[in-house]
């Protein structure tokens, strides 16, 4: 047999005969490489792969103004996008900026509605985004008014149904539009595409079927500035390679000129603060918020695991090959060089490598398949996620590297000059043991890494668990949002009359007539708020200067939420002092309000809660505080309950009407309400309403905390696998070395050592490494924890010594068991045969 075949063949035999050696290596490597590749594929999909229809995404950013609204109550950071036309004119960015808006109307063809979204954009948009035209005319400066462009998926779907839309006329609202071109599906900012009804799938496809209308936004005259602070304003994007971003001072000076006079004072205060910033937000980040950070986290976790796996493999190789020192010595004496030996060992391990690679590919696929399940909902997916040639190449490269490092290090102890010693000794005594310096170092390293990673992993898991799963301060189960939209904003606005009390007003009549229809349509559904309750869109801010105890003043901001009798109780919001509004007060239009604890604390820092009841909300206000409610988290993805709110009966009508529904006895809303039927019933009374959708609070919270949940589960996986690898590595090593040491153990048994003596002998040797590993691990943990907290703004929970001690205890027990059980197992067999070997 040729040497190559010989070594391959003997490697194949070893794969099955030497399971003590091959199994731990196979497990350590394939699991971690599988996870690493899974993470790579996900990261590639989320952070690297080109976005559909936006080939120039890396050039595009939106302009964001971050305003930090208060001194002590860090009000949710407001994000606002500058008014497009004014921005372009002022900073002369006509050809390098675009904007789009989502339209409410549903497009129709031949009386059938087309399942798609309509967007309006500046005509430069496609050019700046790098969107390709697939069929028909390409968009340009001259033809943008000639009709609409539709996206590929909409076109293909209709074509399969027998409608070639190119050149046909579709209707959008009142107007008829000619389809002049087909373009790629464009991956759009998350907020524009999140379908409120689609909760069936866990994965949100970034590109939805689209119809595009183009205009010259730069010619639009100065519009009214109403809604400047709303977060759902039109999306202004600029090509950062061509537009120089104005400096902060210039920009804010200009920005103030665009703000409504009544709000100017407030903005001036905000803009002057050093932490108010003009920022750019990358297009990709808007499309897949947090995806980059998450990908990085996944990759980092998987790489750390792979690091432990390499430590494991090296350790096992070292143990295994030390036992073969005699064989190697003989080979070296007969003229082999170390490099030849290494090649021989790589060859011998090829079958093991092939198996590791196959298993790694399977595990990577499983990981990719299961990750969306962990996040429960709304994982962005940029096209397909799969293991491609690049990933396979990566798997092979990492496997080869891991084996090579293992073999290189374990042969490094053979000194060619000292060959004679190996040959002369009986050969049995050299067999690997825990006194081997490389083993000592590696085992201690592994223990240290185990402690560091598990602790960091647990801290991160704990933090994210708190955000994703802890109490929001309001009930999440059985509560749903119902959203109605109209395309007639004049009609909607006609209900807002400043000085009118809410109860009995036109606005109240509108909302209560809709409530009536809803409650008649389903008996087990009650409407608990004629708005979104705590999740309402904030349309207005109140700001006031309050004097603190030390005499200094601070700017306090808060926003109003709709209050109706029974809402706070139904929504599970605790009232800590006073009472909520009574039906009588509501119907009498009494000027009363319930404020959250934060607001009460800021306005009346010196008064007890009981004393605050009956006081006005502020000096100028005629509203009287009748109750104080517990703080809550409006943003599920932040842990803090720091914002301040005031609950009052008023409602501001916009083109989106929102209601909060509660189902009784845990019934499913879908079983109780038929949305098409309900819409048509509402349209009988209010034909201006065009669409209706539901979303449960649970879905809302799930979507908002997706990132936290993924990080929570990933951290747990990291910790589990870290511990698992420690068990596989240490027990694998112990089994291997104890077996190799059976000669020494047998001699000791002839001299009267009991099994307990032998186990404690192995333990004693192991404890030294345990102590070293724990000491190094604890120091690194302390340092890493501080470092992460300081440099990554990770907001980890305060360092917990008890948790660290518990973790050390746990890993020590795992470690000692991993040493003790296999040793016991081997010494319980009769080791006599070891003495008979020759």
């Amino acid at each position: 047999m040729k040497p190559v075949n010989y070594f391959l063949f003997s490697g194949l035999k070893k794969l099955f005969n030497q399971k003590r050696f091959t199994l731990p290596i196979l497990l350590s490597l394939s699991i971690t490489i599988g996870l690493l590749i899974g993470a790579l594929v996900i990261a590639n999909n989320n952070a690297l792969k080109p976005l559909s229809g936006v080939s120039k995404a890396q050039n595009i950013s939106s302009v964001v103004i971050d305003l930090n609204m208060t001194d002590t109550l860090s009000f949710e950071t407001m994000t606002s996008r500058a008014d497009f036309g004014q921005f372009m004119r002022h900073f002369d960015a006509r050809e390098q900026a675009f904007v789009f808006e989502k339209q409410q109307s549903l497009p129709q063809f031949n009386g059938e509605s087309l399942d798609s979204y309509v967007f309006k954009a500046h005509f430069a948009a496609l050019d700046i985004m790098g969107t390709k035209t697939i069929k028909g005319s390409a968009l340009n400066e001259r033809n943008f008014e000639s009709g609409v462009w539709i996206s590929e998926s909409l076109y293909e779907k209709q074509r399969q149904a027998g409608n070639d839309l190119l050149g046909k006329t579709i209707t959008i609202g009142p107007s008829a539009q000619l389809v002049v071109g087909i373009i790629e599906d464009i991956a759009l900012p998350r907020k524009l595409t999140l379908a409120s009804t689609d909760t069936s799938s866990n994965i949100v496809n970034l590109a939805v079927p689209q119809v595009w209308i183009f205009e010259d936004f730069s010619k639009i005259p100065d519009s009214s500035t109403d809604g400047q602070m709303a977060s759902e304003l039109s999306y202004l994007y600029i090509d950062t390679t061509k537009v120089t971003i104005p400096n902060r001072e210039d920009f804010f000076k200009w920005y103030l000129t665009t703000v409504d006079d009544s709000q100017k004072m407030m903005y001036e205060v905000f803009l002057k603060k050093p932490d108010s910033n003009l920022e750019l937000s990358a297009y990709r980040e808007d499309v897949m918020p947090g995806a980059k950070k998450m990908s990085l986290f996944l990759l980092l976790s998987a790489s750390l695991l792979a690091l432990i796996a390499i430590v494991n493999v090296t350790n096992l190789f070292n143990a295994y090959y030390t036992a073969r020192f005699n064989e190697f010595s003989v080979r070296l004496i007969h003229g082999a060089r170390k490099s030849v030996l290494r090649r021989q060992l790589m060859l011998e391990n090829t079958p093991l490598m092939v198996f590791s690679i196959l298993l790694a590919v399977i595990i990577a696929n499983l990981f990719i398949a299961f990750l969306p399940l962990l996040s429960l909902t709304s994982l962005s997916r940029n096209g397909t996620m799969e293991i491609d040639a690049l990933a396979i190449t990566a798997i092979i490269a990492i496997t080869l590297l891991a084996f090579y490092i293992g073999i290189y290090l374990s042969l490094s102890r053979i000194k060619e000059k000292a060959l004679q010693g190996y040959i002369q000794s009986s050969g049995k005594g050299v067999s690997m043991d825990y006194q081997n310096p490389l083993t000592k170092t590696l085992v201690s390293t592994q223990l240290a890494l185990t402690i560091v990673f598990s602790f960091a992993g647990l801290a991160i898991a704990y933090k994210n668990y708190n955000i994703a799963f802890s109490d929001m301060g309001y009930q999440v189960e059985h509560i749903h949002n119902l959203e109605l939209k109209t395309d007639d904003s004049d009609w909607a606005d006609s209900f807002n009359k400043e000085e009118q009390a809410f109860y009995g007003s036109d606005a109240h009549q509108l909302t209560s007539s809709i409530v009536e229809v809803i409650e008649q349509s389903a008996l087990k559904v009650s409407v608990i708020s004629q708005d979104y309750g705590v999740l309402a869109n904030i349309y207005k801010f109140y700001t006031q200067l309050v004097t603190k105890e030390d005499g200094s003043t601070q700017m306090l901001s808060y926003s109003p939420l709709h209050l109706q009798p029974g809402y706070l109780e139904q929504a599970g919001i605790n009232i800590i002092a006073g009472k909520s509004i009574t039906t009588e007060q509501y119907q009498q239009n009494e000027k009363v309000a319930v404020v959250t604890k934060n607001l009460a604390d800021a306005v009346y820092p010196k008064l007890s809660y009981a004393d605050i009841i009956g006081k006005p909300v502020n000096k100028d206000s005629s509203s009287i505080i009748i109750g104080i409610a517990e703080n809550f988290r409006r943003h599920p993805s932040s842990m803090s309950r720091e914002s301040a709110y005031i609950f009052r009966p008023d409602i501001h009508i916009t083109d989106t009407l929102r209601f909060t529904l509660k189902t009784q006895n845990g019934a499913e809303l879908n079983d109780l309400l038929e949305s098409d039927l309900l819409l048509s019933k509402i349209q009988v009374r209010h034909p201006q309403i065009k669409s209706l959708s539901f979303k449960s609070y649970q879905d809302h919270v799930n979507a908002a905390t997706m990132q936290q949940r993924i990080i929570f589960y990933t951290s747990l996986i990291l910790v589990t696998f870290t511990l698992l690898l420690a068990v596989v590595g240490i027990s694998g090593l112990t089994i291997l070395t104890t077996k190799q040491k059976s000669y020494e153990l047998a001699i000791r048994m002839t001299q009267g050592a009991t099994r307990l003596d032998l186990v404690s002998l192995m333990l004693k040797r192991a404890v030294i490494m345990l102590v070293a590993g724990v000491a190094v691990g604890s120091v690194i943990t302390l340092w890493v924890y501080d470092y992460i907290n300081l440099n990554f703004n990770a907001e980890l929970p305060a360092f917990n010594w008890v948790a660290l001690m518990a973790l050390i205890l746990m890993s020590s027990v795992i470690y000692l068991l991993s040493v003790m059980l296999p040793t016991w197992n081997i010494v319980a067999q009769n080791p006599l045969s070891a003495l008979r070997r020759d």
Partner: protein, 237 residues
């Protein structure tokens, strides 16, 4: 006087998936305190098997083994370990020293398992090293010694606990005649001081040193005879 070892119709076989080897068949043997017994026989006849049964290293299929009146089959693994530690010393053909331990540490091992104090152990090791003439080598490792020296270390380890019985399996098999003679002289001396010795050997010269010779063939005892005079021994010394 009661025999220290009494075997009655003892059988032992080895089984693997293909074949069953009858290693010992109907062995009857009595050994009295102070005796020096040599066991002879061709390779593979069961000599080492008999030694490991006697040394409580291995079990047997049937028959009886009384050691100082104790039924061997009644003993637990740990009880066997204790008995080996206190009452039995082993010397093997291939020395079986632990390469990573010094000469002194190898010898100290059985004492450590008895839980003796470090000082006492050091003293006893020193004494026994002097007895085997290796005082200057206590800090050496086995690989740094010659074969004869290694075997003397093994003997030192076997006798350091002052065992009632010494089980010696071809102690000279790996040694040249000069070193072999030296080892044999040591054993005879120990026997004279009262040790009971059971020794396996190929060498008829050395078997003459024994007070009783046992001949094994194919697992059976074919001949037992007592030797009155230890003439060869006198020659050798």
């Amino acid at each position: 006087m009661n025999p220290i070892i009494k075997l009655n119709k003892l059988n032992k076989s080895y089984k693997n998936e293909f074949i069953k080897t009858l290693a010992l068949q109907d062995i009857d043997l009595e050994v009295y305190p102070g005796e020096f017994i040599s066991i002879m026989g061709p390779s593979g006849c069961g000599k080492s098997t008999l030694m490991s049964v006697l040394g409580l290293l291995d079990n047997f299929d049937s028959g009886k083994y009384l050691l100082s009146g104790l039924e061997a089959t009644d003993l637990s693994l740990d009880q066997r370990a204790k008995i080996r530690n206190k009452h039995i010393g082993f010397v093997f053909q291939s020395f079986n020293l632990i390469d990573s331990l010094t000469v002194a540490d190898n010898i100290a091992m059985p004492l450590q398992y008895q839980g003796q104090k470090a000082k006492e152990i050091a003293q006893k090791v020193e004494n026994v090293l002097a007895q085997v003439n290796l005082s200057s080598r206590s800090k050496h490792f086995p690989a740094q010694l010659s074969g004869g020296q290694q075997q003397r270390v093994a003997i030192a380890r076997a006798i350091v606990t002052n065992p009632d019985i010494l089980l010696v399996d071809e102690p000279t098999g790996n040694l040249d005649s000069k070193n072999g003679d030296q080892v044999m002289r040591l054993l005879v001396q120990l026997n004279k001081q009262g040790s009971t010795i059971i020794m396996v050997t190929h060498d008829t010269r050395y078997s003459q040193c024994a007070s009783k010779q046992v001949q094994l063939i194919d697992g059976k005892i074919v001949m037992e005879n007592n030797v009155k005079e230890t003439e060869v021994m006198h020659e050798a010394s």
